[in-house]
């Protein structure tokens, strides 16, 4: 079992002819992902690593019966690519692109309320169901099939935590990077809902960071609705207010909202142990299983 994607997911790559698109298409195919189509305006008719390329998303979805897309389109055109994907009947759109203007994402966010398609990201590493499929840039070799779900706002931090889990023999059902931007599609609560409903997921790791109130909302959801135990990690304890820590979303406002402490307190109140180090997170997961 897994959430959102599995070995049957038929994947479309938007921006497949660019450097990133080509490289990660190859990596995904190597991992076992069923990549059925790519798009790149003006490049229809070509192939990339054996995958047929179309000019428009609509054409690609219709011709190859795709379920999900992965967006590798540069930031200036990424919102447009997402709008194009949302106007088809894809189930899931995973936007990897980093640096999408926030006002573009506000318009996308509005559009999401009008369609059934789910967006993950932008500025995220993607999603992986180990041993079955990956959509995005996650390094497949550090993951292992198992019973722990993982949801995170950050890419390399996800790898760090997964590495601690896998090296102790703890595998994952699905790992999902929701992205480090202020406005994103799928959020913690959406992912936690899916993990709660997944019978095979026996524990969930949630890696948050400073900025916004998504972790606090997740804590409230965990307390109210979850039987599956959750272990937490929050990055950015030492971040000073008003300084953006890399991720556009990782900023503690001057009024003190979005601090690591407020998130740690909220999670602890919801019964979620929050590790001081990534290794301690893995210890906590071992205790919960």
């Amino acid at each position: 079992m897994s959430i959102l994607v599995d070995e049957d997911t038929r994947v479309l790559v938007q921006g497949i002819t660019g450097g990133e698109g080509q490289f990660h298409t190859e990596q995904m195919i190597e991992y076992g992902t069923n990549v059925v189509a790519g798009t790149s305006p003006g490049k229809g008719g070509q192939t990339v690593h054996g995958v047929p390329v179309y000019d428009t998303v609509e054409e690609a979805v219709e011709a190859e019966d795709a379920d999900a897309s992965v967006v590798f389109v540069p930031p200036a055109f990424a919102a447009d690519a997402v709008f194009e994907a949302l106007d088809t009947d894809l189930d899931l759109v995973v936007a990897i692109t980093e640096g999408v203007p926030t006002q573009d994402m506000a318009k996308v966010h509005k559009r999401l309320t009008e369609v059934d398609t789910r967006l993950q990201g932008p500025n995220c590493p993607g999603i992986i169901t180990p041993g079955e499929t990956k959509l995005g840039i996650l390094p497949g070799n550090i993951f292992a099939d198992g019973n722990v779900g993982l949801v995170s706002r950050s890419g390399t931090l996800t790898y760090q935590v997964v590495d601690s889990l896998t090296s102790r023999g703890i595998g994952q059902t699905t790992a999902i990077g929701i992205g480090g931007d202020p406005i994103i599609g799928t959020d913690f609560v959406d992912a936690l809902e899916r993990f709660e409903a997944d019978e095979e997921t026996e524990a969930v790791v949630m890696c948050g960071e400073i900025g916004g109130e998504d972790e606090e909302e997740a804590a409230a959801y965990i307390a109210e609705h979850m039987d599956t135990p959750v272990a937490g990690f929050i990055a950015g304890r030492t971040a000073p207010p008003g300084k953006r820590m890399g991720h556009a979303g990782a900023i503690v406002s001057g009024s003190g909202t979005g601090t690591a402490q407020s998130k740690i307190d909220a999670l602890n109140d919801a019964g979620v142990p929050v590790g001081d180090t990534p290794a301690e997170v893995a210890d906590n997961v071992e205790d919960l299983l």
Binding site: P101, H109, K110, P139, N141, P182, G212, R237, G246, A279
Partner: protein, 380 residues
């Protein structure tokens, strides 16, 4: 990117928002000359990116030349919460009877912009928001349509602005929203929006923070970035294209990915050290970026030891290791001890390549951070 007050005022004034006459000055003589042109009384205001400038002594009123000179001498060169004041804005003082607040920001929770108005301007609006949230009228805006005219009126009436002023304040708010949208701002604020005895409204301060990710479509604003950078090292980071934040500690930190770099900072603190900086070299770190990153961290005189932490996904650890060797081989003496931890793609190859006469190699993140903290203590 945060614009300075004088830069933001220029943008607001160009859009048609009333602002007081003002001019920038960098010496006491210039301050006196500009004040004479503008006419007394004037306000002399430090142009640095810190909140609460007034309380910290960064804003002085001057009734005459002697006071203007005294204010200039006191403020220019002063240290304001860690930033040296290089320039001041000389501005005609507004004879006000009332102070309002108007602002537009992105409500990230709601995923849409929100316009705000309050009759309790002039003081710290965040305190007002915390203590008396109802004192701020909020109007969420559909980003696809922009702010409808009725919404700017509604926000103004909801805030309790008097009818005689409502039309002008709504006009300022509507313009402010247009500026916010057209500049890809994250925040646009006027606090205070002063009301004069004659019932005129005038923007006595200006905040305009622009989304860094949207600067590519605002080359005019991007040009202001250099002027707006407060710190030499932060300016250098802009040049190299790094996400960099300078902090007060002595353990320099280089890593890939914002979340992991933040975690490395937190671990330095957890193991009893103090982080000197946040530096994210980003994905696919090639040799040149590695060299530049080390140059950045060694340029910070507070740094006593460096921890270099890479978890390779797209980034290949063997390439990073080659970059580290190349950067350090260029020194006769390594300026500060460097601890390296490589994990993920090609980590074993990377560790093999690293020259352990130049760096200390650690296998785990926790181990690397503890070692760097020890080195920093020894060097300090």
């Amino acid at each position: 990117m945060r614009l300075h007050e004088y830069q933001a005022k220029d943008v607001f004034a160009d859009a048609g928002i009333p602002t007081p006459p003002s001019a920038l000055a960098t010496t006491a003589d210039e301050v006196v000359a500009r004040a004479a042109e503008i006419g007394y009384p004037v306000a002399v205001k430090a142009q640095v990116h810190v909140g609460g400038r007034g309380k910290a002594g960064g804003i002085e009123l001057a009734e005459d030349e002697a006071e203007a000179r005294a204010a200039a001498e006191a403020i220019l060169g002063m240290d304001l919460k860690g930033y040296t004041v290089e320039s001041v804005l000389v501005e005609g003082a507004v004879d006000f009877v009332n102070e309002l607040y108007v602002g537009v920001t992105m409500d990230r929770g709601a995923g849409e912009p929100v316009a705000m108005v309050s009759t309790q301007g002039g003081v710290n609006i965040e305190e007002v928001a915390a203590e008396d949230p109802d004192a701020i009228a909020r109007e969420h805006v559909d980003p696809a349509f922009g702010m409808h005219p009725y919404q700017s009126r509604k926000a103004v009436y909801d805030a309790g602005v008097s009818q005689s002023l409502a039309r002008d304040v709504a006009g300022v708010l509507a313009t402010l929203y247009e500026v916010w949208e057209s500049t890809d701002a994250s925040d646009a604020e006027i606090n205070p929006l002063m009301v004069t005895g004659d019932g005129e409204v005038i923007a006595a301060d200006a905040v305009l923070n622009v989304d860094d990710d949207a600067l590519f479509r605002h080359p005019d604003l991007a040009e202001l970035e250099e002027e707006a950078a407060d710190d030499e090292l932060e300016a250098k980071a802009n040049e190299y294209g790094f996400d960099y934040v300078r902090l007060d500690g002595n353990v320099g930190i280089i890593g890939n990915g914002a979340g992991l770099v933040m975690t490395t900072l937190d671990l330095v603190d957890y193991y009893g050290g103090a982080p000197a900086n946040f530096l994210d070299v980003g994905g696919g770190a090639k040799a040149e970026r590695v060299t530049n990153a080390l140059d950045m961290v060694f340029s910070d005189e507070n740094v006593d030891a460096v921890v270099f932490n890479i978890f390779g996904g797209i980034t290949r650890c063997d390439e990073v290791a080659q970059g580290i060797n190349r950067a350090l081989e260029g020194f006769d003496v390594i300026p500060k001890p460097v601890v390296v931890r490589l994990a993920g793609t090609n980590a074993a190859e990377g560790r093999e390549i690293l020259n352990d006469e130049l760096v200390t190699v650690e296998e785990t993140l926790e181990g690397a951070v503890q070692r760097a903290v020890e080195y920093a203590e020894e060097e300090a």
